[in-house]
């Protein structure tokens, strides 16, 4: 009888190897059809008209001119006169037309008048906010008393600006109706849950909705729901009686389709002269739009024994927040690691020694952090590169190194799948999940093929369609743990059903069989063996099928939660231009059992690069005068290019002690530390703390100018 637990290291033929993603060829040849690429017969194109003002009341909407324009088939109001607009680009109506250009022309002809209301977009200025909601302080131990008695104190101010998701494929979908059945081709991270949400919003049975997404161009936490544009697209499609494609334009997408909340903090840290951290007192505030923002987990990972943290949520008239890869962790990480590194600098200690001295404060995973720090230090050449703060060189180019650590959960989500073995030997795994670019298709195939002893090509993976068994949305690093477990359980059960059919051939029991190398055989007796195809022909006329689920504690321990990682950066800073160049970024990451080393490493590289963008270039910039997003484009919303990222080194912690925990998600952890590690490297290089991310050239110069004037940075 096949065992549900993952095969031992020596018996894995596919798991943990370097396997190219299965959908690589269709993607690299342009053959993959994304929602934006799909064309349906008779399809119309939509454009949303959005608010010109950040805060206003709609007075009147005149669509008469737009309705008469060439190609226009319908206008659908989302908000009515009298409605309050809370951010610029809040959606007001949809125009549907025969071509995209005609829809755009008609959208421009819509006349909306507003009663403009005062707006507030500067989330850093919490005292000026009309809606600041302070939360109760979280207190552990005796923070105020221990801080008052601390031998050494370090105070700092830190802030991260709002960032957008900036998915390359904008948000959007095609909705079409056939009678009372609605099909949506969505750019989504969540086919199964979106089906249910569409049903609720449209007040039709969820069973009448089908959501499809074979390929999608990036989500990063911003594509979990049908969204207002999805629901209103479906309604408009029903009204105009034609399939309707509605993809957001770039500016609308950047302004409305998701932000990571900002975070600002004042921190005071207390320590003994020997470097032992004793106390932490902080207040933070931030905003992700009209609903403000919750508190990041500060202090982060390093659980200072005496600590107090108070957070204030600040509402702004900016597009609403959405989950952004590792929600709240990059903010907490930067604020905490920067404050601790500032303390190390005050103590004139090497931060590596300082963190190692206090490593027990990181809790359960402290031994792993310690091991990771040592590996990272070797890969970085930390001991050769570190110098006391400000001794970064005599010329205008200053060099420095910095470090940070992070954590994440990553437990597998709820997932169901069906594994079907056909009498001709073909195998199909059907699962209502999606591959958002992480390699989900590939790891499902790896798990099923490994279980059946087949080559990768022997398994077909069918996903991206809500008609398959319900599986969770792809967020929070929960997919790999969820779908690998449900696939393993379904595959093992299907294989055991096959064993029962084949066993009588050799007068043995199913428990005595194994599937290896494309054959089914009696364990340890290659004379009693038959090819997979021949075995499959014995299952009868109908295919054999089994369902698998996660969680399911009765069928093996396949996944776990909780990882730690450390990163180290080295940078050069030109103090004349303020430009920060990343030399090298090292990531050492623990993640449980790796299913595909190639795509796993890609997740880490990708997270690091996104974190580099956070650290050096990307931010939402709002015009204080109009309240509008100034950089809702890809020219001034700056993502790093190929030449901006420096040398990247990835080391995944695998093998005994790691693999046996089972599968743990890896999408979020690597994006958390880069901002903190790079910021600490910049402080080490130039001798003063640049308090803000991103560390754009103007901010670096402003920090240096302030320091020169004698102000505390």
């Amino acid at each position: 009888m096949a065992d549900y637990n993952w095969p031992e290291a020596g018996k894995r033929s596919l798991i943990g190897k370097r396997i190219s993603r299965l959908d690589g060829p269709v993607k690299s040849t342009g053959a993959a059809k994304y929602a934006y690429d799909i064309k349906r017969p008779g399809m119309l194109y939509g454009r949303m008209v959005t608010s010109a003002h950040a805060h206003a009341k709609i007075v009147s909407i005149d669509t008469s001119a737009a309705e008469k324009m060439p190609g226009v088939k319908g206008v659908h109001l989302i908000q009515q006169p009298g409605a309050e607009i809370k951010w610029a680009h809040d959606e007001i109506l949809i125009v549907a037309a025969a071509t995209q250009d005609q829809a755009d022309d008609a959208a421009r002809a819509v006349k909306i008048t507003y009663e403009v209301l005062p707006h507030f977009v500067n989330d850093e200025a919490k005292d000026k906010s009309p809606e600041a909601k302070p939360a109760q302080a979280q207190v552990t131990g005796e923070p105020d008393a221990t801080l008052a008695q601390a031998e050494v104190k370090s105070e700092g101010y830190y802030g991260l600006q709002q960032v957008s998701h900036c998915c390359l494929e904008p948000h959007g979908q095609i909705c079409e109706w056939e009678g009372d059945q609605m099909t949506a081709h969505c750019s989504t991270q969540s086919v199964s849950p979106v089906e249910t949400q569409f049903g609720e919003a449209l007040q039709i049975p969820a069973s009448n909705v089908t959501v499809m997404s074979q390929y999608m161009g990036g989500g990063f936490g911003s594509k979990f729901s049908p969204d207002r544009w999805g629901i209103e697209c479906a309604k408009t499609s029903r009204e105009v009686k034609a399939p309707l494609k509605l993809m957001l334009d770039r500016e609308h997408d950047q302004a409305s389709a998701g932000a990571r909340p900002s975070s600002y903090a004042k921190v005071t840290v207390g320590a003994r002269k020997d470097g032992t951290i004793t106390s932490w007192v902080s207040e933070s505030w931030g905003s992700g739009g009209p609903a403000g923002a919750g508190s990041p987990p500060i202090p982060y990972v390093v659980q200072v024994p005496n600590r107090k943290h108070q957070h204030t949520s600040v509402a702004t008239h900016t597009g609403p927040a959405r989950a952004w890869r590792a929600p709240n962790h990059p903010q907490a990480c930067f604020i905490t690691m920067a404050a601790l590194e500032d303390m190390a600098a005050t103590l004139k200690m090497d931060p590596l020694d300082f963190f190692l001295k206090n490593i027990a404060l990181t809790g359960d995973r402290s031994k792993i952090y310690e091991e990771e720090f040592k590996i990272a230090a070797d890969l970085m050449g930390w001991k050769q590169k570190w110098h006391p703060r400000g001794e970064g060189g005599k010329g205008p180019i200053k060099k420095g190194v910095g470090l940070a650590l992070h954590t994440w959960g990553g437990r597998g989500h709820r997932s169901n799948c069906e594994c079907v073995v056909y009498p001709d030997g073909s195998v199909e795994v059907k699962i209502g999940s999606q591959d958002i670019g992480t390699g989900t298709r590939t790891i499902i195939a790896i798990v099923a093929a490994e279980t059946f002893g087949l080559p990768l090509e022997g398994v077909k993976v069918s996903l991206g369609d809500s008609r398959y068994p319900e599986s969770g949305g792809s967020g929070g690093s929960t997919t790999v743990g969820g779908v690998s477990a449900s696939t393993r359980r379904a595959s093992v059960d299907a294989l055991n059903l096959m064993f029962a059919k084949v066993a009588p051939t050799w007068s043995v029991t199913a428990e005595e069989l194994e599937a290896v190398g494309g054959r089914i055989q009696v364990k340890g007796d290659s004379s009693k063996s038959m090819p997979w195809k021949q075995a499959a022909s014995m299952i009868g006329a109908s295919p054999l099928s089994a369902m698998g689920s996660n969680p399911d504690d009765t069928k093996g321990k396949l996944n776990d939660s909780g990882v730690g990682g450390v990163q180290m950066a080295d940078v050069s800073v030109d103090v004349e231009t303020g430009v920060v160049r990343l030399g090298k970024l090292v990531a050492v990451q623990d993640c449980g059992l790796v299913l595909d080393m190639k795509t796993a490493e890609s997740q880490v590289y990708g997270g690091m690069i996104m974190g580099i963008c956070n650290a050096l270039s990307e931010e939402r910039i709002f015009d204080p005068v109009t309240g509008r997003l100034l950089n809702g484009n890809m020219e001034f919303y700056k993502l790093a290019g190929l030449a901006d990222v420096g040398e990247l080194v990835v080391k995944l912690m695998t093998g005994p002690g790691y693999d046996d925990r089972g599968v743990i998600g890896l999408g979020e952890p690597p994006v958390i530390s880069p901002g903190a590690a790079i910021a600490n490297a910049v402080a080490n290089a130039i001798g003063v703390r640049v308090p803000y991310l991103p560390m754009t050239a103007d901010r670096v110069l402003a920090t240096l100018a302030k320091a020169q004037k004698g102000g505390a940075a």
Binding site: S28, L168, M608
Partner: protein, 209 residues
Amino acid sequence: MARDDNPRNGFSRRDFLKGGAAAGALTTGLLPEGLATEAEAQTGEAQVVGPGTVELSLQINGKREQVSVEPRVTLLDALRVQLDLTGAKKVCDRANCGACTVIVDGKPVYACTLLAVEAQGSKIETIEGIGNPGNMHLIQKLFVENDAQQCGFCTPGFVMATKALFDRHPSPTATDVKQGLGGNLCRCGTYAGINAVVAAVSKGGVSNG
């Protein structure tokens, strides 16, 4: 709180432009080589077409294709909407990201910024023309082997920019690579893989994938 070390606090238009200029030191602003010269090549008699629909004959992937578009329609929209060649993606629509890169007369071009009418008489090569899943171009194969793609939305543009780079510089220098691929952006963060592709093509297609 108005701190003088955060230039975003009460900045002026002048400060914003200044900051933008400094931030422009990032190489993300680099255009693919050839783009700058594209406009310069457009000389000769001015011809007025439109404003209605215009019949065009475009030479795409070695085939003549007839399209009927308004003069304002970009090459990108003509490819994607009229001809269902959807490999080139519409992302920024403003010549910033390179997801729509095609090769026109041997040069990489942002198809979102070239009008279809301007592309008449040129040889246009799109991602669909250089290979398909069953018979990939070497560069496409190396993108797969080196996992130089995640969501894949920037990938066709990167493949075309990489092909144009090697068509022009069989042994590119670091500066050639920076210029040739600096005009393409990826959000998933596949640059490590793309660098591996460049290294592999330079070595004649041998990859460490």
